[in-house]
Symmetry: C2
Subunit: 340 residues, 2 copies
């Protein structure tokens, strides 16, 4: 939540509850990764650089609170939150292996190779630790949910890899990638939060199904916004290097929309610029981004993301009104309004 | 078991039971990895090249049978066996990322980079699928065992990476690496097999503790034998490329023993040859292997491995005599007698 949200007065209390929960998440997180080996502790220090907005633990906590407004969120929610954040971080770490491969294409040093090996091991350690932690929830159901979400995430990564440099990627495949790569774990976070409150045998209850569907739609919207920021943001504001998708030959919603809506001449010119960016021979993507704007493709992406947030909110009909539910709505809006 | 063992007459029946169990393991394995995405199925075909001796599922089955000779091994043992094999295969796949990094040091093609990314994703998919499958065992205990073993394996890999090119690696650290990297999962396989028979609340029973300790010692012996074969084997017999440890700057038992027992002059010459092999400037390690043999270091490694197998068998006092227990003993002996 850290600065992402402008919180209305009446939601301050729930916001503070969540903040307290996140402190517990961070403690559990650090405790689970601690080791008797100095080398492991040194490796885990690198994890710090992957710290983010804690979106997944926040959703665990809010969905936990929203699924039964009378009960409090507790230790199990904090554990589930730490598990989801750990799985998420593992994917960031392993994404870096892929990213570093890209940098290496342009001829880099041996040092980065060792960094690469470390990234593989660190990612594996995070995944394994997440599963070990998850098994402390005293039911195999959360392990099943987290295992399944992780496997689905891998298939999304694979689908993305298969479509690298595919300049005729269609919208259907793009959404398929997003649903797997990003939405599966965010949906699982919401489901876990609700189950920690209602009991792990409640997977089919309307509230749990609704919150999970909410999370999945928010997840897709989140990734579209990420893709927009990768094109339009600046490194200082976004907090990570931008233009990565183009470098990696990844077609995202704004580009797919642009190529479908540009006239033949512009389309040819844009394809040329996309190829140049993907091969590392373009230093600057300003002209391409201008062209994407000119076909209204950034606006179209943001409209799509907002419409998904509308759909997400509609999934919450079975969830009783409460400050937590209101906060989920605020958070959902923030996901597509954020500039970082 | 495939050809690893010479089976005494009286053990044929249990051997056939295990063989039947392994068929079920393979079915569960394939089923768990199957996907509705063509790209995933194509990726999983690569898994075939990592197929091995099925040591871990064999141990699951034999320990399952040995822990209560009157009961039959069943579906849960096959599931646990598939889980252990999948986790093991994931580590092989990710090891290849490290290996390919090495090949790339000497200047390889872009194609291998893509293979690298695929290996990261495939390994992650195997781990995630293993955890998902494990959660079908209807208790969080197996997930805890497998999660913990995987995390410990990562710390072993990390310790190994930290000690790459450390030519003064001592025996204590070498054994620490082996216990984590190899023995943890083999111990877990034995434990899981016993728990599938006796019930997941029996972790502290003498039989389970004994079988787990047996597995851990067999695991260390197994890895020592692997390290010996990497030095003395030929690619045709071992079935994988040899001399890898030297190339990767990994000091193993025979080398540690050799450096501790060679005279000053030989020691200097050997260190030179080890450095040359690690930097890729040696084409041939015959002279080094001869020197290692001359200090009796291959024999010492094999003696150490055999002594560990003796210790392993001594861990089985709480386990009632049965053909399965006898088979465990035969298998333990085979681990250090194998040439592949």
């Amino acid at each position: 939540m850290r600065g992402v949200l402008d919180i209305p007065e009446e939601l301050i209390e729930i916001q503070q509850q969540v903040a307290g929960g996140l402190v517990e998440v961070e403690q559990i997180f650090a405790q689970q990764l601690a080791s008797d080996l100095l080398a492991v502790d040194a490796m885990c220090e690198h994890v710090e650089r992957y710290r983010g907005k804690m979106l997944r633990p926040t959703l665990v906590m809010l969905c936990g609170a929203a699924s039964s407004p009378d009960s409090k969120v507790g230790r199990s929610h904090a554990i589930a939150g730490a598990v989801c954040e750990m799985v998420h971080m593992a994917t960031l770490v392993h994404d870096d292996v892929l990213d570093e491969a890209e940098i290496r294409r342009r001829g880099e040093t041996l040092n980065q190779l060792r960094g690469n090996e470390m990234a593989v091991i660190l990612g594996d350690y995070l995944i394994a630790s997440a599963y070990e932690l998850c098994s402390s929830l005293d039911s195999p159901i959360p392990s099943r949910i987290v295992g399944n979400a992780s496997a689905v995430m891998c298939t999304g990564e694979l689908l993305q890899l298969h479509n690298r440099d595919n300049l005729s990627l269609d919208e259907t495949t793009y959404f398929e990638i997003l649903e797997r790569k990003t939405a599966a774990l965010i949906g699982a976070s919401c489901e876990l939060g609700a189950l920690c409150t209602l009991g792990f045998d409640q997977q089919k209850s309307d509230v749990v199904v609704g919150l999970r569907a909410f999370g999945k739609r928010v997840g897709v919207a989140f990734q579209i916004q990420d893709d927009v920021l990768d094109l339009t943001g600046t490194q200082e504001v976004v907090g990570k290097s931008v233009g990565k998708d183009l470098e990696k030959g990844k077609l995202t919603y704004p580009l797919i929309h642009h190529l479908a809506n540009a006239d033949a001449e512009q389309r040819g010119r844009s394809l040329e610029m996309i190829r140049a960016a993907a091969s590392g021979s373009a230093n600057e993507t300003g002209e391409l981004v201008d062209a994407i704007r000119a076909t209204g493709s950034i606006d179209a992406a943001q409209k799509m993301a907002k419409s998904l947030i509308g759909d997400a909110k509609n999934e919450l009909t079975a969830v009783e009104d409460s400050p937590s539910k209101a906060m989920l709505m605020v958070l959902a809006d923030a996901v597509v309004q954020r500039s970082h």
